[in-house]
Amino acid sequence: MADSGSPDSEPTTRTLLRRVLDTADPSTPRRPRSARAGAQRALLETPSSRRLSSQTKTTARRRSQRIRSIGKLAHVQASGYLEEQTPRTLLKNILLTAPESSIVMPKSVVKPGPAPQVVQPSSRESSRGSLELQLPELEPPTTLAPGLLAPGRRKQRLRLSVFQEGMDKGLPLSQESRGNADASSLTSSLNLTFATPLQPQSVQRPGLARRPPTRRAVDVGAFLQDLRDTSLALAPPGESLTAPVATLPTDTVLEDTQPFSQPLVGRSPSVHHSLPCPSHSGAEDAERAVSHRTRSTGPRLQNNSPGKPAQLLAGKAEVDALAMNFPNTSSSIFGEVGVEPLQDGVGGEAEERTEKSLSMSKVKEAARARGSARAQEPEGHTQVTEAEGSQGAIETKEPEGSSGDCPTSSRRVSPELASSTPEFLQAKRIQGLEPAPPPSTAVLPSEPLEPLSARLPPRARTPGPKACQNPYKTGLSHYAKLFSFYAKMPMEKKALEMVEKCLDKYFQHLCDDLEMFAAHAGRKTVRPEDLELLMRRQGLVTDQVSLHVLVERHLPLEYRQLLIPCAFSGNSVFPAQ
């Protein structure tokens, strides 16, 4: 070998083994050990001496290891050795597998064999011992080994690269292990060498490579179903006054996610030109219509089934949803009878809804006496004939029915009525609720009527309560509702009115007491201490029950946080005491 005469600055296992292989006789290993051992030892000494300069520790260890290995080898040789696994082949395998590491470490390094012939039998042992696991995997590479070793060039990098190419090993791994100085790292690198082949194998075996994710076309029906589900989830929380606001974000969200809004938009404007979308913003009518259509199915179907009482707050959500949806759906259905552009689920449900709306309009007719509404009746009838059935189910849903009727019949409702309805609606909202379906239903058409204000005459409407009285009554009715909740028993309407009167008296007493307490303290501002004193006077706060306890019991968390001082990080207390 050419490299035999030129020692490496850092003789590595590889170089040593290389030398061993080159110099050793290609004969069977069953030679008398003494001769070989001597040669090996001689060879071993030189590299070991060289290595001494670099790493004394390792060489010392190696020496001890060598001695040990030699002892072991004696055993091995005596016991006999398998012919197929000659030291030569083993060394070759080690050469192939061992990563390039300049510094050879004890034990595992020694076993792979800094020593040539000494190592050869030791390598056998070591290979069997530590690298035994590696040997089976090495079997396939051994075929390549001769080819790799054929160049016999000193340049380890090149050989390694060639080897790696052949072995599909990761190059960086071996290079990294080159710098490793630890036996453990060597072993780990050795172990890693067997782990890495799996990766490069994939390169050679494209079948194992990761396929790009197949993308399926979007299922329209499934998508709409998901939309409905999400709208179902979104609709219930949007109760009370937040309903109109809540619908806004859902609308926008649905608009963004609706891939089918474009085809429908073309249609919807033509349909809805006479029916500008309700309230919030008229800009996105078309999309809103579409979104409402899709959204309405969920909340409507869900809201209809429980048959909520015609509470204004609760009904408002339905009303808003229904009102907005009804004109869209009804108009879309009526306007595009011939056209079936609606998605399968949406179309079917929209038809159902229109059926309901029509039948509800019938119900509404009996319930309400509206001239304009009656004018719409024949129209409604003709359309009702289109959609039959499901009337029985709709009978129960009077609130929805009324709301449905209002939009359908309200298409030609007067703008005056529309203008008045928003005010009425506002008033109704402020009032809190009198659970009377007619007033709530009167409120219902406000939403769809608002956009119709331009062309439609105002609708006759029952006069609302006085404005000055409204807010006060609203507040009292709020507490009256709580009364009915706490009582857990059915109550008369008169009883509720009685409760409101009592509340009125109570508020007066409350304010008087607070004034007294504040004056007693020489203040003109009523502070929480006055309130606490009042409650103590009333017997609510006792020595056993403190104010904080009552606050925790009866008030929601957010108020509790505002009332009860709590320590926060940074040595701060909120609220400040």
Binding site: Y479, M489, P490, V526, P528, P556, S569, P575
Partner: protein, 95 residues
């Protein structure tokens, strides 16, 4: 960490206190007085407890009369008792 005197808008509190209503009521009654920020929350608490007691008393009255429905008379009788209790000792003493 809550370091604000107001509740953030996005929170949907169930059983919200009608703080505006309470403030307005107090202002109407005693325009020369001022009410502190947390005072109206405690006022609301007071109202809740009052209504609670009233409801309990009314229910008791209705049950005593073996009625399934709370009637006006029950409420009236209950109100008398509870209002007397809620007045505070001062007024009771004055009476």
């Amino acid at each position: 960490m809550v370091l604000s005197t107001t509740v953030s808008q996005r929170k949907h509190i169930k059983r919200k206190a009608p703080r505006g209503f309470l403030k307005r009521v107090f202002k109407r009654q005693k325009p020369h007085l001022r009410l502190e920020t947390s005072g109206d929350l405690l006022m609301h608490l007071n109202c809740l407890l009052f209504v609670h007691r009233l409801a309990e008393e009314s229910r008791t009255n209705a049950c005593e009369n073996k009625c399934g429905i709370i009637k006006k008379e029950h409420v009236l009788a209950a109100a008398k008792v509870i209002l007397k209790k809620s007045r505070g000792m001062m007024k009771a003493k004055q009476k």
